[in-house]
């Protein structure tokens, strides 16, 4: 079954007066379980809007969005919050960790909002931090961690609820290329473990890590095709 099913998704932004911006002009696509998809496109192509819609941060103006077979395009704010909490793990370019909380608390946060009892919460958060290789940094605050480590905390926070999709928005944009590569290896590993990953990026070499690339231009899908693996050594070392 498809995790995500988009049908004729249109998003209009009313800029005041008669002026309207067509950010998305009829997007139809589906993403199956355990796919690794890159959404690409230049700025202004609508990829951020598409990410917001897929991430249930925003609702489409028209069209149908089915998430695990449930129509989310007509949900209210609270229902959307619940979907985000349980089904979607976000990884942002700027990490977006809470600065005053340590790594453990940052990772626990989605579980707090999900109503998970505190003992289980802590156990799962610690396991997940261990999983991303930060088992020895759980009580460090974001400003005591390197960029790569911060992004690993963010990945742990995205994973801890065992979501249906991981939605990563330019996850390597604020990292040097070596650290960025390490994060991409982590995504590769998560994908192999069965996670569904959607990667939003404008960098072609980052998108190459995905197995399918969707290119947007002017709010429409330009191409949607499998990624040709040029960098066999990267794939080889990951397997």
């Amino acid at each position: 079954m498809n995790v995500i099913e988009l049908k004729d998704i249109v998003k209009l932004y009313d800029m005041g007066g008669a002026e309207e911006v067509h950010a998305l002009q009829g997007i139809t696509m589906s993403i199956a379980k355990n796919e690794y998809v890159a959404i690409m496109g230049p700025s202004g192509s609508g990829k951020s809007t598409l990410m917001n819609v897929i991430g249930c941060l925003d609702t489409p103006t028209s069209g149908i969005y089915q998430f695990n077979g449930v129509n989310v395009s007509e949900m209210d704010d609270n229902q959307l919050a619940e979907v985000r909490n349980r089904e979607i793990g976000f990884v942002f370019q700027t990490f977006n960790l809470l600065p005053r909380s340590d790594a453990l608390h940052n990772v626990e946060l989605p579980l707090i909002y999900g109503g998970v009892p505190s003992a289980e919460r802590k156990k799962r958060a610690l396991e997940t931090l261990d999983h991303v290789g930060l088992g020895d940094r759980v009580h460090h605050k974001p400003n005591e961690l390197s960029g790569g480590q911060r992004q690993r905390v963010a990945v742990a926070r995205a994973l801890v609820t065992r979501p249906s999709i991981i939605l990563a928005d330019e996850p390597t944009g604020n990292l040097d290329s070596k650290t960025g590569e390490e994060i991409m290896m982590l995504f590769e590993e998560l994908h192999r473990q069965g996670n569904t990953i959607i990667l939003v990026t404008h960098e072609a070499d980052i998108a190459e890590h995905a197995h399918r690339a969707v290119r947007l231009r002017d709010g429409k899908i330009e191409t949607d095709e499998p990624v040709r693996k040029r960098r066999l050594q990267a794939a080889g070392s990951a397997s």
Partner: protein
């Protein structure tokens, strides 16, 4: 469970936010601090005034009527009443004989004299001449010794029962019973000491009074031209009004007042004072609560202001929280908790400042900070927090996650 988790999370966040901005938080709560200090001190002061008044009023006894030339309070034209005839001590026996509703009657004549013993003295003590019935007709009790007997009273013996303040002044380290004091030069043997009454109006208490037999009083201080108060104790408090009417009738008969003519005497009672005092107490309370209300209002505006600033500063944090699943309600609660926590902090600081101040007030006016005021303060702080925190919290709760995440 879910709610408790969110509550706990809200408390942790508030704690971190207050800790991160210690100075700002404390300054913000200043209005609340002042409000709580003022409400606390005002209640303490009112409590003190009430206590003092109750003690003073109790000295009169709730069941005692005072027949006197002039009223205690009232707005009768002084020109019309100033020529009233004196009240004579001998009325007491006639009232006692005729009244059905009262059980004890005592005449009291008073003057202000110097009372001394060796080098210790009390200027202007209230020296009262009365009969042995006084103890029955008044609301006072003796701490030590006894009052004079009928024989001592009728014989005009030089004996005295003295007030607590007089006893303390003249006998700082001794038992006064059996010792001789001098009242304007005349020697009197102390046979009893009254219990301390306190009270804010000196004249109301027995503390600075010296009671001697009426006959001795008259022979030493010339009772013939002196005005007398007749204290009448009513047998049953429930029949106060009837007793008052009866007493009025007896007095009119004694004074030969023809029907239709106004009374040329007054019957006073404690209630009159209580009635006069209540509005005073109300005025003190109103001023106090006006100041409190004003500072809490200003304090609340301060909290609202800082919460708006806090919400704006943390727009991105709100976006993150919303992205990972915080509902509107959760965000609303988080900021309400933060505002309430700030106000509670102010409330506690206020109580901490007010408590030592109330001990200072206690030195001037015996009182104690009422326990209820602590709870009321906490409740007020919480309410101010919830009310002033609501608008900022609501703004935070309804933020659009996409825009909040984009905020720099």
């Amino acid at each position: 469970m879910h709610f408790l988790n969110e509550l706990k999370e809200g408390l942790i966040i508030s704690y971190r936010a207050v800790k991160a901005n210690k100075m700002r938080s404390v300054l913000t709560t200043l209005g609340i601090v002042i409000g709580i200090v003022s409400v606390t001190l005002m209640s303490t002061a009112i409590e003190g005034v009430n206590r003092a008044f109750d003690r003073s009023a109790a000295a009169f006894g709730t069941d005692v009527l005072y027949v006197q030339r002039f009223p205690w309070v009232g707005n009768e034209d002084w020109a019309l009443i100033r020529n009233r005839r004196r009240i004579e001590a001998e009325y007491a026996t006639r009232i006692e004989r005729q009244s059905m509703l009262s059980d004890y009657v005592a005449p009291v004549a008073a003057t202000r004299r110097r009372v001394y013993r060796g080098n210790e003295s009390v200027e202007d003590a209230f020296v009262s001449g009365t009969t042995h019935q006084y103890m029955n007709a008044a609301g006072t009790t003796l701490a030590d010794g006894r009052f004079f007997t009928a024989e001592e009273g009728n014989g005009g013996r030089p004996v005295a029962a003295i007030g607590a303040t007089i006893a303390e002044t003249l006998f700082p380290n001794e038992d006064p019973i059996g010792k001789v004091i001098r009242v304007a030069g005349h020697p009197y043997t102390v046979i009893g000491v009254f219990e301390k009454q306190g009270g804010m109006f000196g004249v109301f208490t027995s503390d600075t009074r010296v009671f001697i037999p009426l006959l001795s009083f008259e022979s030493h201080f010339g009772g013939r031209r002196r005005d007398v108060t007749i204290q009448v104790r009513v047998a049953d408090v429930k029949q106060m009004e009837d007793a008052k009417l009866e007493l009025e009738g007896i007095m009119r008969k004694i004074r030969h007042i023809s029907p239709g003519k106004p009374n040329d005497f007054s019957i006073n009672q404690q209630e009159l004072l209580t009635q006069t005092f209540e509005p005073i107490s109300l005025v003190i309370a109103s001023i106090g609560f006006f100041i409190t209300g004003l500072s809490l209002f200003v304090g609340g505006i301060g909290i609202m202001n800082i919460m708006f600033a806090s919400v704006t500063e943390r727009t991105r944090e709100i976006g993150i929280r919303k992205a990972i699943g915080a509902r509107k309600r959760t965000i609303l609660m988080q900021f309400l908790i933060e505002a309430s926590a700030l106000c509670l902090l102010g409330g506690f600081i206020g109580l901490m400042i007010a408590f030592p101040l109330s001990l200072i007030v206690d030195q001037v006016l015996p009182t104690a900070m009422p326990v209820s005021v602590v709870f009321i303060s906490i409740l007020i702080s919480l309410t101010v927090g919830l009310v002033s925190g609501f608008l900022p919290a609501y703004r935070a709760a309804k933020m659009d996650p996409v825009e909040a995440l984009r905020y720099e």
